[in-house]
Amino acid sequence: MKPLVIFIGFVLISLISSAQDVTGLVKKVKTRLDRVNDYVAEGRMKTDVAFIKAPAGKVKIFFKKPNKFKLKRDGGISILPRGGVSVNMSSLLTSESYTAFSAGESQINGTTVKVIKLLPSAENSDVVLTTLYIDEANLLIRKASTTTRENGTYDMEMSYGKYAEYGLPDKVVFSFNTKDYKVPKGITLEYETGEKPAADKLKNKKGRIEINYTAYTINKGVSDKEFL
Amino acid sequence: MPPIIEVQNLSKKFREITAVDQLSFTVNEGDVYGFLGQNGAGKSTTIRMLLTLIEPTGGSVKIFGMDLQSHRREILRQVGAVIEKPDVYKYLTALENVRLFAKISGIGRLSEAKLMEELELVGLADRAHSKVKTFSQGMKQRLGVAIALVHDPKLIILDEPTNGLDPQGIADIRNLILQLSRQRNKTVVVSSHLLSEIELVANRLLIIDRGKKMVEGSSAELFDPAQTVVELETLDNDKALAQLQASEWNGLLQPTRSKLIVLKMDRKQIPLFHQSLAAMQVPVISLQPRHSLEDYFLQVTTGKQHVEAFTN
């Protein structure tokens, strides 16, 4: 018994110490992100969902602290995975009430990253678990994986460039699970071309949205009415 | 001068029914040609064949010396017709109707004045701008006539033009026919099931029954004592007919639907015919000469309505 107790005690102590360690890292990342009060970004969005045929198009993204976020597409309609969290990176970190655990290290595109799991303290939080892959050297989140109660798991991969100093990515790729889509033919009065879309293609439940940012306008103030 | 209409062996079969059977007749220029027969005798079918509304199953029709089938358009340009009730577009005005049909009749654009003149002729000038649905039957009839005349045709074909008209309307049509013939020098073909209507206007007559020609000739001929119709009744008509067919009287026998034997001869020949029958020992019951077309018409066309018409 004794060796086991000692072992558990040791693990606990190391966990707590590393928790303090990673909490500090997350805080540092957050501090950096906090330098951005607001931004307007322009970019190009591509949607890749098996059952959506959407053209790539220009988007304009508005952000204002603490968590106002809006994506506008030219032409008007945007289809985004449910739950703005996945799009709004800093909202991942807005909540103070989480517990951070280290989950070792990993590699993303050749960069060594710390893997940190965040557990929200609030019991009714929609987010069950967030895993961050943080590039410690540059204090940048390279990847985030969020598991929610309602909307499955989202992955978000970021690439950085010109705006890395603000912690703002040049490119974000969201991956997410999708539910089935089916509208009864009676409602759509479908035109039968006789051609069935490849069934496996539609069965692919992974959706992807890619946004390439071309320009950020940071901390120049954003009117509240942009978020209406 | 070719005849205006020359019909040869014209036939029309509707499935099993022969409506017109080997009909031949000729209409000359200037004729008012009366076309007589019971309802269903084949008058309308014949007239519709002359107007290309019905396709014949046999025979030929020449109008103005041209074959009707191959020269349809040239012929119809010179023909005006009122077919039974002259129905026109009810939702158009009288003037619009006349203008519309003038246009289709292949004449150039007519001035409004000319069209009004046409309506004036039939006494409808004051109603030129009224919709036809407000017209009485007689007014429609007159409008029909105006439409038939608007393109100044050489030949006018009137199929039962007096159907459904009151006595005044009938008289109007009769006068109009005479006027067209005498003043405008038109050739008119007019059909009717009433002899009384026809005999006053027609100079030539054709009587048909069950699609067959019964008699054709000028009014003068048909009323002529030299063309007296003799009806013979015997104890055995079949035998008597056979005897007559074998005799020199054969050529005078007339087709008939009645049970009687009918011959056509000069009134003066009748005593000789008597003697001849006696010589052949034909058991004669009666021998009756009829000298009017009316009697003849009565005989070939049996039907209550005609009897009423004639006895009135």
């Binding site: 591509k46 890749d48 969902v49 098996a50 059952f51 959506i52 045929k53 959407a54 053209p55 790539a56 198009g57 597409r73 032409g75 008007g76 309609i77 945007s78 289809i79 985004l80 995975p81 449910r82 703005g84 909307n151 997410f176 539910k179 889509y181 089916k182 509208v183 033919k185 009676g186 409602i187 759509t188 009065l189 479908e190 035109y191 039968e192 071309t193 051609e195 879309p197 539609l202 | 107007l51 509304l53 019905i54 396709e55 358009r73 040239e74 012929i75 119809l76 340009r77 077919i83 009730k85 002259p86 129905d87 026109v88 577009y89 158009l92 619009e96 519309l100 049909f101 289709i104 292949g106």
Partner: protein
Amino acid sequence: MWKLLQIELFKIFKRPRTYISFAAITALVGIIQFGLKLDGTAYMEFMLRDLSMSFDIEGNILNAYLVCFIILQLLLVHVPLLISLIAGDLISGEANMGTLRLLLTKPISRTEVVFAKFLAATIYTLLLLLWMAILALFVSLLVFGSGDMLNLKSDYIVQLKSNDIMWRYIAAFGFAAIAMITVASLGFLLSMFAENSIGPIVATMSVIVVFTILSTLDIPIFNAIKPYLFTTHMIGWKGFFDVKVNADNEAIAGTVQNLGKVMQAAGILVLHIIGFLTASILVFRKKDVLS
């Protein structure tokens, strides 16, 4: 020929009946627009129910382009009824009125009459569609504004960029014109056989209704006969609202997913028109006018 066509058009547009269709279209389009303007959000929520489970859809979804699509979808099934009202009456109506015999004693060939009447019916059909386009598309643009269009198909969703839509509507109305002319030519053919206009009108409507039901019923035993029903091809205009995608599943502007099939459907309809028209000419040339 031109003269005859003028006369036929004159006759069509002098009749009150002609305007019933225009009034009906105006009323129906108006009602749909009014309903969508007032309660369109609920309708869209219903249509997007499945999608909303995974996605947030933002923007002016219920814009003129979608409204026009909804209107066409609802109305184009019924416009044939309005067209048969005129087409089924073309010959039979004149036979009934007694004007056919007068018309055909004129120095015009029967083939000319058929063509003039058919062309007049075609022009009527085109005007009706034009009127519908004005109301459903241009009035909607004023009322609902423009924007990208979401075409909710049963298996997937197509998002069309607003600058990639107008030409699709022009093509769609062109296709609809062919479809409606097919109906007109059927009504016209049937009108040869009757001496009152009710028969051919009802017969045309019945054919359309029965065929449309068979075309849209998703029951396997009917699927075999669907390709042979011209009504199946009449909704081919919808094909213009689907796009091709590239390897990245990115919609390519200016493309049509299955243009070949759409063109084939149009071709089948054109063949029907030619068939019905040829039959009409043959029947009419031989027809004995007894009315």
